[in-house]
Symmetry: C2
Subunit: 117 residues, 2 copies
């Protein structure tokens, strides 16, 4: 991958959670994590997320990814949901708005589902 960045993880790493096999989730943690899973629980949102994550540099302009079979306001709505869940960040650069994946948050989800530890 790109060796330009030593992949410095965000300092604010999601403190959640140990692997789901190691301990039962608390009520609060289950609410927090469920909100993240919910963000990926719609096919259109998952595809948008996939398009951004697989884009070079892990970011993409809305205009690059809005061909997912729904109207443009609906795309915007879904991107907002993903942003509110913490899975994406956005940044305006001139005319366009770029969305990036939030690596630490996604890593937290993956870690929760790691059954082998």
């Amino acid at each position: 991958m790109s060796n330009l960045e030593p992949t410095v993880l965000e300092p604010e790493v999601a403190p959640c959670c140990p692997p789901i096999t190691s301990a039962e989730l608390s009520v609060e943690d289950s609410v927090r994590m469920a909100a993240m899973f919910k963000a990926l629980s719609d096919p259109v949102r998952l595809r948008l997320f996939s398009k951004i994550a697989s884009h070079p540099g892990g970011e993409a302009c809305v205009c690059d990814i809005q061909d997912v079979g729904v109207s443009q306001p609906t795309v915007s709505h879904h991107l907002k949901k993903l942003r509110e869940a913490g899975l994406l960040t956005s940044e305006r650069r001139g005319t366009w708005v770029y969305y990036q994946v939030a690596p630490s948050v996604v890593a937290g989800m993956a870690a929760l589902l790691d059954l082998n530890r």
Copy 2:
């Protein structure tokens, strides 16, 4: 943890999918994976799943986990959802019904979210 079982993974590993950073999801794959994420998108379901996954042997009887703050029919409803999504399997043994996690399916979700490859 328990060294009784050498943790033999199921041979039938979910064929879905390469890590989300490596390629854009197809429409069909996004529908399949979104359904799995949806199963974990409710706090009560996530707690039920957590209780089962963290139980010794990766399985639990309904009677062991139904203390999650909702009625018994609702627990049953949520377990059905998790089962339909492929995340759990169930088995009746006498009076009780035992639910087990489906390791390969969960591993597939974790693999999809692995950003580091």
